[in-house]
Symmetry: none
Amino acid sequence: MTIAERKTREKELRRNAMLEAAEKLFAKEGYHTTTMDDVAEATDLSKGTLYLYFKNKDDLFFTILDERLDTHIRELKERLSKTSDLKEAIVELVTEQLTFFERHHYFFRLTIAEQCKIEKTPGSDLRQHFLQKQMTFLMMIEEALSGRMSAGKQYPFSARSLALCLMGSTHAHMMNWLMAGGDQDLQKSRDEIIQIILNRIEV
Amino acid sequence: MTIAERKTREKELRRNAMLEAAEKLFAKEGYHTTTMDDVAEATDLSKGTLYLYFKNKDDLFFTILDERLDTHIRELKERLSKTSDLKEAIVELVTEQLTFFERHHYFFRLTIAEQCKIEKTPGSDLRQHFLQKQMTFLMMIEEALSGRMSAGKQYPFSARSLALCLMGSTHAHMMNWLMAGGDQDLQKSRDEIIQIILNRIEV
Amino acid sequence: MTIAERKTREKELRRNAMLEAAEKLFAKEGYHTTTMDDVAEATDLSKGTLYLYFKNKDDLFFTILDERLDTHIRELKERLSKTSDLKEAIVELVTEQLTFFERHHYFFRLTIAEQCKIEKTPGSDLRQHFLQKQMTFLMMIEEALSGRMSAGKQYPFSARSLALCLMGSTHAHMMNWLMAGGDQDLQKSRDEIIQIILNRIEV
Amino acid sequence: MTIAERKTREKELRRNAMLEAAEKLFAKEGYHTTTMDDVAEATDLSKGTLYLYFKNKDDLFFTILDERLDTHIRELKERLSKTSDLKEAIVELVTEQLTFFERHHYFFRLTIAEQCKIEKTPGSDLRQHFLQKQMTFLMMIEEALSGRMSAGKQYPFSARSLALCLMGSTHAHMMNWLMAGGDQDLQKSRDEIIQIILNRIEV
DNA sequence: TATGAATGAGCGTTCATTCAT
DNA sequence: TATGAATGAACGCTCATTCAT
């Protein structure tokens, strides 16, 4: 039925509008500083309507994180699937991180900020679920790397450590990029990170 | 006068107790979720007393960040002053980061979380001041590195990029350490980071 | 649309209920002693609701003063417009003052109390605005009197001084009336004031 | 004993310093806006010391009002004692009011503001006591006037009403004077008030 | 389904008062 | 007597959430 379809479509659109407006606000102002009023106003919908789509503020917040992370994971998987050796994988990983975060830098900030709140009282199930997914994400990377580390060689570092360095380096460059206003080219950052990680630093 | 001295000393102690309790809470629960009541209770002092020592919640918060960062900067300067070549500097930098953050992991989380709130309305002067100091910190590292990069050599990366990779890598390892419960040995992380950054990754 | 109209009407009613409850409380207890909780309770609405109608306590307070003074000014203008000579104007002025204040004695107290806070740090814009309106009110009276003072005669007093005596005299009688419990007849006060001001006191 | 005397004297001085500083602050900022800290600071004494001289804030406040009113009453009595007919009494009354309030305009504002809070929950004993004294003051004036109204004449107003007009008129002029900055000559006000009250207004 | 008025718990902050020194 | 640090009750205001329409 076309009418039913259009209705569903409209709902979907509204839902996305909410998620996008909220993501922007949460990233700019932080979770607590952003009010449900703010989100409602930014979406040109009434506050009550928000609660028809999301159970509460937490649900709205973690839905954003969750859906974005899903996309991120999917994209990364695709890129990695095309690589076979370690070097290629590293290049793709760094590239994906920077590319994705450049497009979704609101998400980037949310993610990092959220990671800091470890240990806090269990937190909602939503929170638990998201953290779990993040762990999985990291493990996925770790496995992608370790799977490409030659079985015969001795590496003076673990795949996890390499994963952490790669993630951390890209994060730091992203942060730097944001601080500078987000208007330079990230291509150069990508190349430098790869150079630093892949090549011996002549001392 | 011994009596005046003791009074001053006691005030100092109380102030420190407040700062430490607050740091812990802020790191665990986040700025907004931590209430002044929480801090007061954790210090076994009344809420009103907090306001005798700190102008307001913001002041309390940024005083923590500021004083810790000062110590961090001081320690790092000292370490770096003993190094002459790039390799040594990198080793010292990574070591200082991990050592300091292991001791002050509450501060670590606060720092990272605070960095995410870029772009937001300027914020209090205190906030501005802290961000400024953080920038200075990063530039200090950048200069320490660039000063030790041989003038005659061509490096395929900038000193700033190297600084970012080092900071980011240690941060990621810290985060990982915290997530795992903070009870493993960071010595291994240190060695791995250094290996990854300093040596060619055989691909 | 009848339904929208009724909604608007109900909102108006609630707003008025708030204003009246607040006026009473402010007059009886003073601005600072009256809490927003008090007002909410007196209106059988929750505290939060107050803030849907008034930006803050100050706004609530000065809205009361402002709207009442507007009515007072309007009524007085109407009365004065029917008079042509000085004597009639004086009679109407005294009558209006006593009549209006008898009906709105809560407002009377607020007005007087507020006048005493001269010189204090400028205060909110609302306060400034109200004081300005009060000055205008006094000038209006002054002009009404001076306009009716025969051009050919020499008066041993200024119109402003006469205005002040009239206002002050009615105020003092109002205060006396309130102190006595507010249950006597103000008609007699009116006559006496007029006698004292308009006729030679035989000494 | 001279030493004891000096001590007593010093205490007296300190007490007066407190009263004067407090009077000024209360008048300028209002009762609630003035904090005990403010008073302490203005007196260069510690907050705790205030409580050695006055039981609490209310005590401090009403002591001021009470002592000033005593002086006012004493001065007025003296002036009136020199008059015998009604006209003279009126002149003296107006003169005393304006003279006294010009000297003590801080007290003036406090007095007026305080009068507005009639009906309020009984209030402290101090408050009751002060209001009582104010009533007595008014009755004293009423009696002074009625005592000088010729027994044989018929007056179209009561002594109380005359008293109220006189008080109110001077109050209004004082208020006007304060609003204008308090730097004009009150002599003219005095003359005008007397003219208005004592002479027939030619209509 | 969409609205937006109403709610009320909760937080940051102030300040009169106390009390050990 | 004088101090000033400590207290804690109280207040203005916010905002996530609910619900009648």
